[in-house]
Symmetry: C2
Subunit: 328 residues, 2 copies
Amino acid sequence: MSDVAREAGVSLVTVSRALNTPEKVSRDTLAAVRRAIDLLGYVPNLMAGSLASNRSRIVAAIVPTISNLVFAETIEALTQTLAKDGYQLLLGQSGYSKQAEASLVDTFLGRRVDGLVLTGFSQPKALRLKLQRANVPVVQTWGLPGPGQTTLIDMAVGFSNVGAGRAAARHLLARGHRALAFIGADEARSRQRLQGYRAEVLAAGLPDVEAAFVPPPVQVDAAGPCLDRMLERRPDITAVFCNNDLLAAGLLFACQRHGLRVPDRLAIMGFGDLPISRAACPALSTVRIRRAEMGEQAGKMLLARLSSVALEATSADLGFEIIERSST
Amino acid sequence: MSDVAREAGVSLVTVSRALNTPEKVSRDTLAAVRRAIDLLGYVPNLMAGSLASNRSRIVAAIVPTISNLVFAETIEALTQTLAKDGYQLLLGQSGYSKQAEASLVDTFLGRRVDGLVLTGFSQPKALRLKLQRANVPVVQTWGLPGPGQTTLIDMAVGFSNVGAGRAAARHLLARGHRALAFIGADEARSRQRLQGYRAEVLAAGLPDVEAAFVPPPVQVDAAGPCLDRMLERRPDITAVFCNNDLLAAGLLFACQRHGLRVPDRLAIMGFGDLPISRAACPALSTVRIRRAEMGEQAGKMLLARLSSVALEATSADLGFEIIERSST
DNA sequence: GTGAAAGCGCTAACAC
DNA sequence: GTGTTAGCGCTTTCAC
């Protein structure tokens, strides 16, 4: 930077200003500085700037895995929202492990990220306190703060997993199904959806839900084996709520293979409204959630906080929507 | 850090050493320092460390979009390989735009990333030169350096897209197909596969391939409309090579919808060997590529370079494999 | 094994 | 509108 300053015949600060607040520099000086920058091929060191200004312009996000399309879309929208304001994204993957999440948070705090986006609300208390003490803006996603273990750290954007489970059950019950099953990943959000799903079924005076869990990360081909075991135990099952559209698509293929007609013999309901649910044959009924908006909203909340703009609310409920298609 | 030093009764440098090279500090001193760190809740500022040491321990990766499962898996493996050595990943998404890619590179160079992972080989010359001048380790992925516009910047890991296209064509020709079609995204790698595919078809003395391009990012539901147009123009088509398994699955659903039997009326070949290709009914023949290994290998190459370990080769060909299943 | 001194390349605060 | 001064919180180098 001092080379540039010398070349342009100005002082070092002026170069800094030309870069960061060009409107506070005269036209001629600005031109001279820019010429010098081009001439010397100068690339500003943002790390030094971060150290001096105490703002890294980096936000970190932790997801269980980026290989799950639903998280990928949230991250994509988040990255793009942040990029508009010159922020970059550090990506962390917890692999559904609380311990890995905690150690990622430590690293990210050490890097002095300006903000943090977490997935879910089941962080241990110690982590919550650490984050609150660190005084770093945090957005939790893919759920909503509420009673139980779902505690708010700072800000939140998502939807009610329990409510989504309830709505799925109501949809299937309204279609006349009386023996319902559930297939989901063995993790917190999926269990919350099951909770709502089950509550609705029991409230209708029906036998309990037949539930199967597959270890996360969910693979599309995990559904087939589940189906076999399920129908063996409960041949009366007529509807399955899959906690992921990909899982539902896999189940649909498994039904085709077994000659089970969908929805006549077995109704299938997905979750997420991924493009595949619309493309499938029959098209899959599902619960639409606003994945991209979740990332965008998380980014906006952080940016607002970072620019000291007053936030309307610390928590945003993006809701969900039952999409009725042909598989139920 | 000086607070910790005071608390532990040692100098500031000793704290730094206890953190970075604990083996160079005596057992007692180490214990004292660690006690002080816990007591004070000290979190080292890695940005300051980066500035002083001129190593950021950050690697940046640029992919077209993280919402495409194939890239997500590469990124996942890369992140995990880097994490083992204490490196974090900055994620950039170009949205298939060369301009966006160039501007991301500028930002990342400004952040003084220790390494860079790029997707593809068609970077403009100016970008290549800039990266080479910056003297930062770079790995290009999802292809191989070779003649044409595919120039090597520094290191590479991938497979031959042209070769994969050729192999797909040979597979279909061997099954007796004589009128072949292609559906792919309108981007460089897809075009290279078409190039190999077409070359093989023409070499067999057959009519040219019927090719359809969909704008990236590819969506699973993009295939259906393509199919209609294709069969209208060329009702003789008996096999389609889709440049993505998701696209192939979408095509399979479209065939079910139209009552076209797969593979009897139309053979479908996918690309990537995503889990869905095995789960599909009929299971999809496809070209397996080693997505996760690509990320892992890219990470290893960078880490080797960063720790000054001699690399065996600057370029790794991970190959591909034709997976024969029921859809062809 | 430990410490003192000298920066890393910037920005913040204040002066002019 | 521009410059001067004083750091940001570490690591490196060299000395002991």
